[in-house]
């Protein structure tokens, strides 16, 4: 439909419809007196942010393979920037430059469909980070500087980069849009079911607002939603069996929630509330995209193992001939 994967099209249409009717719901709730002024302002701020964010997130995925890969590259760089400024590692310019270079090369490897290089970049960039830090000749704090560089590159470069590579697959577009939708809704489900059923805290030191009830509720709802979407995408293939669909849904929900907790841990350790102010009502980019970090590799490799993403056939659209 319009050159889009049918599942991607219907999800995008659903998101557009939801964004279109949300103001009506707010107005009705407001009329019914269910919203305090503070809550109402907060909801509207978040809504306006989503109005910008949703097209920015889904747009590149719908626009095709290269825009999706470039979009992921830009997201990786922006997330790294936020992390570097919050930890102070941006002051180590050589390390910072190598992380940025690694992210650019990962983006290139995905665009080129050169999986060998994409994999090689993990060990090569990490080696370069460890080595480049020698040249400052300042052993004091060496481990911290290098470790922060490797940590950042692994999370925002390698893990997020899997979304870029995923876009090369024929069904990649549909998978990516479905993943994005389910990861975002995973947060919403956890919040709502937590409000309804949550009593016991999940990790009170790390993130005081999360409850076990919310985590389980999100796992059930997200699994159901993602399983049905994947069923529509991979209809009739090896993956189209209840056990695979449920495992994929659970993996997505759990890795999503863990990503959230990872970023909470990082923020607690740094002693900052938000990592940035990029998105009004949400905080920094990382506060919005934290849940995606581990979902990418989990989905990518699961699908590749059982269904195959054509990684064993080198394509190399740019460096080949």
């Amino acid at each position: 439909m319009f050159g889009l994967h049918p599942v991607a099209f219907w999800i995008a249409a659903g998101i557009a419809a939801t964004l279109a009717i949300t103001p009506l719901i707010f107005l009705l709730l407001g009329k019914a007196g269910k919203l305090t002024p503070a809550l109402s302002t907060d909801l509207w701020t978040r809504y306006k942010s989503w109005l910008v964010l949703a097209p920015l997130m889904v747009g590149p995925l719908l626009a095709g393979r290269l825009p999706a890969i470039l979009g992921v590259g830009v997201l990786s760089l922006a997330c790294y920037r936020e992390f570097a400024r919050a930890t102070g590692m941006f002051r180590y310019r050589a390390i910072s430059a190598v992380v940025a270079l690694g992210i650019l090369l990962l983006t290139f490897a995905a665009a080129d469909q050169w999986y060998g290089f994409f994999v090689a970049l993990s060990s090569l960039t990490i080696s370069l980070l460890v080595i480049i830090a020698l040249f400052a000749d300042q052993p004091k704090g060496y481990i911290q500087r290098v470790a922060l560089g490797i940590f950042a590159f692994s999370l925002f470069g390698v893990c997020l980069g899997h979304f870029g590579y995923f876009a090369n697959d024929k069904a990649g577009q549909a998978f990516l849009v479905a993943i994005l939708l389910c990861v975002e809704l995973n947060d919403v489900f956890a919040y709502c079911t937590g409000k309804l059923f949550g009593r016991r805290k999940l990790a009170p030191q790390t993130s005081p607002n999360k409850t076990i009830g919310g985590a389980i509720g999100a796992a059930i709802l997200t699994t159901a939603l993602f399983a049905s979407l994947v069923h529509a995408i991979v209809r009739g293939s090896v993956l189209d069996q209840p056990v695979h669909l449920i495992v994929l849904g659970l993996l997505l929900s759990l890795t999503g929630q863990w990503g959230d907790l990872v970023m909470s841990s990082i923020k607690r350790d740094l002693g900052v509330k938000d990592l940035g102010v990029t998105i009004p009502g949400h905080g920094g980019l990382l506060d919005r995209f934290d849940s995606l970090i581990f979902v990418g590799p989990a989905m990518f490799h699961y699908v590749n193992y059982f269904l195959g993403l054509g990684l064993d056939q080198p394509v190399r659209g740019i460096t080949g001939h």
């Binding site: 919050a86 930890t87 102070g88 002051r91 310019r93 910072s96 911290q144 740094l270 900052v272």
Partner: protein
Amino acid sequence: MEDWQYKPAGDLGLKPEESLRSLRREAGLAATITQGAWRLAVRAYLRGYHRLRVEGTEHLPARPSFVMVANHTSHLDAITLAAALPWTLRRYAFPIAAGDVFFETPAVALFSAMMLNALPMWRKSCGPHAMQQLRERLISEPTIYVLFPEGTRSRDGNLGKFKPGLGMIVAGSEVPVVPCYLHGAHAACPANRKLPLPLPLHLRIGAPLQFSAMKNERAGWQEIAAQLEAAVTALRNTAASSGSAQS
């Protein structure tokens, strides 16, 4: 084993437009690259178009922090002083620029921050708070301020009176202040000209002064301003007597 130390960016948590105007702004990778490219272009321009000559570079301290002060007649002044620094020091240089000119609109503020690495001084409402922030940064981090104590560009090219505000930044600290005199900028690009003329520039750098013994209060600030004004005047006079300048 010691705990890890995290020191977030000084402007962390500020909105983009606030961050550009913040006195605690720190350059990241993108700003480092644009500023480096800008400095290369500026040096080529000053050498080629204005045949810039610099004398007295041996007076520059080998390491930050320090302050460079000079006469002010032209928009060329700040970029010329920053360009006179050796390449190891250039990235520490922050021209202190008029907020109402260089940070008023977002586009100009973006240029001032990403290219010039300038920090804003709001002339109408600059309270002791801003001075205190500048002072703290100068003392706690490797920083080089390029500033013009006259407070505005001289319209006739003559040296105006130095304002005591600068004293608040350095009084009682070990930070050296390097007096400079730039000749030719008024002829090349005075305040009423948009595009500079291809006239020569001659920068003379004097021996640094220190004000660690000076009290951080009004009398001390005025004394610092007077001493620096005298030092810059002396540089002007030597520049004139050596016959190098035709302003």
